[in-house]
């Protein structure tokens, strides 16, 4: 395999799905830090990736790997005052124009404009995004009216259509329900309707099915796939569940302690994982009918205030080499569309 070291993720790996023109979002060397009383938490520490138009990009990792903070950074909604985007660029492409989200203050007019026009987000807990004191109808209509210049009556008509579309019935009656009158799965659907009301270019889904029962999860995942085709949006799908990743995504980013450790197509990640962390994750999940011993990664995720030097995964890594604890691993291109931040793929570096 041809291996060339590079300095950042995302330089290669587009050929298959895209060419440069089709980029929707570029995240470049993003660092998002939090000043906590325990110290400085580098929640996102030098992350590079791209989202192409119409693709579903999965972000997978365990708790504390920075996947949620990455998504909040893209929305420019990092919790204030302790958190901040320390450095980096978040370039959003629309109509031939490129804006850097990271350069705007979170509450500026321009930022609100970008959010309401192009971005939408859904969460694990629908109640963290729906307001309990407004009907779901009025929350959907708000999105429609912000984006489109339509009368209240037309907005209501479109809200009914949205509610039907996400599978809440009977829509004409449910439109006047408050969130407390709906079940968890129905609220999740309502939240998706609210998010899609403004017809966003990028939907960020942060563990959207984690709290749901398995049958409801299947319904919501199917719904998201249908809606993506219909609305031709890009989805950034954040989850810890590798099975959901496999079912939903085109490409996958694997994160560990605030850094991206591997990027590849979903096939590469499942059949030819490069980074020992990705390999470990895959060996940790039970697969139905394919009886095998689980071989978990030893130890647990280190605390964000007390990260090991250089490669953060080295203390848990079964393939650790001397260089891993003395020098930061760069990003290596392996094959056409896959990249890993691991010394194993250095041509000069030791023996595999």
């Amino acid at each position: 395999m041809q291996q060339t070291p590079t300095t950042k993720f995302g330089d290669k790996g587009r050929d298959k799905f895209m060419n440069g023109k089709n980029t929707l979002l570029e995240v470049k060397n993003l660092r998002t830090y939090f000043d906590n009383k325990e110290g400085l938490a580098k929640a996102v520490d030098g992350v590079d990736f791209e989202v192409e138009k119409g693709e579903t990009l999965g972000v997978v990792g365990e708790s504390g790997c920075g996947k949620s903070v990455t998504s909040l950074s893209i929305m420019n909604l990092v919790p204030q005052p302790r958190g901040r985007i320390e450095s980096g660029e978040i370039l959003f492409h629309s109509n031939g124009e490129v804006v850097d989200i990271a350069s705007y203050p979170p509450h500026s007019k321009k930022m609100r404009e970008i959010r309401k026009t192009y971005l939408a987000m859904i969460f694990q807990d629908p109640m963290s995004s729906l307001s309990p004191v407004y009907t779901i109808g009025s929350q959907i209509m708000e999105g429609i009216q912000l984006r489109h210049n339509v009368s209240k009556k037309d907005a209501r008509q479109r809200a009914v259509e949205m509610i039907q579309r996400v599978g809440i019935s009977p829509a004409e009656q449910r439109i006047d329900d408050y969130p407390y009158q709906l079940s968890g799965g129905m609220n999740q659907r309502a939240m998706i309707a609210v998010a899609l009301a403004s017809n966003p270019s990028l939907l960020i889904a942060d563990e959207p099915t984690t709290a749901l029962d398995v049958t409801v999860e299947a319904q919501i995942l199917d719904l998201m796939m249908e809606l993506q085709e219909e609305y031709r949006m890009s989805i950034l799908f954040i989850t810890h569940d590798l099975d959901v990743i496999g079912e939903m995504t085109d490409r996958v980013i694997v994160m560990y302690t605030g850094k991206v450790v591997e990027i590849g197509s979903v096939q590469d990640i499942f059949y030819n994982p490069l980074h020992p962390y990705t390999q470990g994750l895959l060996k940790s999940i039970p697969k139905i009918g394919r009886h095998k011993e689980l071989s978990p990664i030893r130890g647990s995720v280190p605390q964000i205030y007390n990260l090991p030097d250089h490669c953060h995964f080295a203390p848990r890594c079964p393939e650790r080499m001397d260089i891993c604890t003395s020098e930061d691993p760069p990003v290596f291109n392996v094959g056409e569309n896959q990249q890993a931040k691991c010394w194993l793929y250095d041509e000069k570096g030791g023996d595999r």
């Binding site: 049958t215 496999g246 979903v266 470990g280 060996k283 689980l294 647990s300």
Partner: protein, 349 residues
Amino acid sequence: MPDDNLILDVDNLKKYFPVRKGLLQRVVGYIKAVDDISFELQQGETLGLVGESGCGKSTTGECLLRLMEPTAGQIKYKNEEDEWLDILSLSAQQLNSIKRDIQMIFQDPMSSLNPRMSIRDIVVEPLEVHGIGNKKSRTETAKDLLEQVGLSEYFLNRYPHEFSGGQRQRIGIARALTLDPRIIVCDEPVSALDVSVQAQILNILENLQENWGLTYVFIAHNLSVVEHISDRVMVMYLGKLVEIADTEDLYNSPLHPYTEILLESIPEGDPKAKKKRGKIEGVVPDPSNPPEGCNLHPRCPYAQEICSSEEPELINRSDEEKDHFAACHFAEDLELKGYGDLVEGIDVG
């Protein structure tokens, strides 16, 4: 008398919660959290219990330990002297001796460990309650137990907040082992844990089972985890048991439409696999007002007239050695799809 290898025999277990309304808080109805279920537990096996939230699986687990008082039914336990005792009719003193034999591991290791107690105190507390050993021997026991679950004795004087989720779950397991139990009821023991840590805990549970001859009731909503660890699996829906079978049989040739719905719903990660998923209808109905007849019938793709009027019985449908219980009028007629039939493109089973 049931056959020799049984350790627990549950008959017609019911747990009803009253629904009260109005100024006088009159009882206007009942939520039948567990509604007349019967099953047996073989010594040394892992019996998985799956179902969606609100189906009564945790309530069942708590009733087994009498952490919750059942409304009716019998739970017979065979102790080490081969005597059958009904857990529900025992005096407090007799119950105490049985409680040593049946222990529980909980989902959330943070809320089940007292934050003001050191790890040593948490692990040896059951010994103190039962007056076993002296201070020195108890500390020795604690060291042994921590080693069993892969923690260093160096942690003895630390407190729960100093540990990660996975380590706390290990402490919870050590505490459950303190009294040398025979049965452990594991209620969602890995669902709050990260993927890599979840596998560690599953391996620990399997090793302990082998070394200590433990019997597990393993309650979880994650069907892949249950498939991995269980010898037999029970499926619950709205307080009822709908299917009990050998793990392989249940996943490969289910006999109840609800089991098929669950298998259809599982996300399959393998990118080569194509999941054939029918449209899954509706949600779990309100448990205070369950449907008449078979309570699945409003969601069931195979429902017929009889399903809305007559409740199906949970009967053994297998003529082979292994039992396969299913509560469906058409269990023998339907040809339901197993997990292998539902995924295309990969080899399962």
